[in-house]
């Protein structure tokens, strides 16, 4: 249990990268990129966790209750939203590539030049 979350992080990273390397469709590749990004959220939150602590919101609990780290939660929070927007930009590029070359296979897209 001491290292299990971090092992899961590297498993998700490896599986996502494997999907990207062996992909034959640009949309499949983008979705595997989303999986790779999600492994970083797990790593961030896993680093900041404290056993027996609660969420860092002191609305109705006393202020000195032990709570988990809020800084990594702030990082993960903005991460999630911003990377969705960057994925939308990647999708726009994929649509334009399909319009121009007629194919979404990454192996064929490399060879079409000129």
């Amino acid at each position: 249990m001491a290292f299990f979350p971090f092992v899961v992080v590297v498993w998700i990273l490896a599986v996502g990268l494997y999907g990207m390397v062996t992909s034959r469709h640009l949309m499949h590749l983008i979705m595997c990129l989303i999986v790779v990004q999600s492994s970083t959220y797990v790593l961030l939150l896993g680093v900041g966790y404290k056993t027996g602590a609660v969420a860092p919101y002191f609305f109705d609990i006393p202020v000195h209750t032990p709570a988990v780290d809020p800084v990594v939660q702030a990082l993960a929070l903005t991460d999630v939203v911003v990377e969705a927007a960057v994925t939308a930009l990647l999708l726009a590029f994929a649509i334009q590539a399909h319009k121009r070359f007629g194919t979404l296979d990454p192996h064929e897209l490399v060879q079409l030049k000129g």
Partner: protein
């Protein structure tokens, strides 16, 4: 390089990366034994210093506000990028909408979907505004509230009312709202500079009671602007992608 060779190269590289990572894990304190001082310090002093009981939002918009400005402008640039990339070939390739809808036999939207989505659209807007305005008290904030607001517009499209969706979110108005959101955040910081304080200092009154909606000064204001900007950015991206398909349902 053939794809077999590429796969073997990837497997070799990944094995090396995993080995180094797992070796480095040995030096970490285990999961759950958080050693670092910053989390404890911020949890102790945040409520006293900013009157905001939601410490994560306080970190986002106050202690690390400069990072959030950067992230928000990444979002702004991505939305602008989508609009630019997808606008490029519009003049050449667009056919009239009538042609393309003719052979796409879209079934009319079922009554159950229309009823449920139109009923949910209003409460979703209220939920989005509630989330965006309560950043400093409970788990909520500008980013989440903005996306829930964008979802309300998507519900209108899902009800089969493509034209109503376009009328509710014309491109000029959405662009303007997004610009106001992004510029407002930067303007709050610049106002602090104009008052002689460092950029993004909390210069508004901190309110009387920790955890009230009107407390915590600029945190609530910044969260409101961020909510506007995120909602407008996502509505813009979705309406750009929708224009690409131009599938108009049979009864709208």
């Amino acid at each position: 390089m053939s794809s077999r060779a590429r796969l073997w190269l990837f497997l070799a590289g990944m094995a090396g990366l995993a080995a180094c990572y797992l070796w480095g894990l040995g030096g970490l304190p285990g999961f759950g034994h958080y050693p670092g001082p910053y989390g404890d310090i911020i949890n102790r002093i945040a409520v006293g210093q900013t009157n905001a009981t939601g410490v994560v939002s306080a970190v986002n918009f106050e202690y690390r506000g400069f990072d959030t400005v950067g992230e928000e402008f990444i979002l702004f640039a991505a939305a602008t990028g989508v609009a630019t990339v997808l606008r490029h070939l519009r003049g050449e390739r667009e056919r009239p909408a009538r042609d393309e809808a003719a052979d796409r036999d879209a079934p009319p939207t079922s009554s159950a979907i229309r009823l449920s989505t139109l009923m949910l659209a209003g409460p979703t807007v209220v939920l989005g505004w509630w989330l965006a305005s309560h950043a400093q008290t409970t788990p909520s904030g500008g980013f989440q509230g903005g996306i829930v607001l964008a979802t309300a517009f998507i519900l209108i499209y899902l009800a089969g009312q493509f034209l109503a969706f376009k009328r509710f979110s014309p491109v000029d108005v959405t662009d303007a709202v997004e610009a106001v959101g992004a510029g407002g955040f930067a303007a709050v910081g610049v106002t602090a500079v104009a008052m002689g304080l460092p950029y993004l200092t909390n210069f508004l009154g901190l309110g009387s009671k920790p955890g009230a909606v009107s407390s915590s000064g600029t945190i609530a204001l910044i969260s409101f602007f961020v909510g506007m900007e995120v909602a407008a950015a996502f509505v813009l991206m979705i309406s750009e992608l929708l224009d690409q398909t131009l599938l108009i349902g049979q009864e709208s």
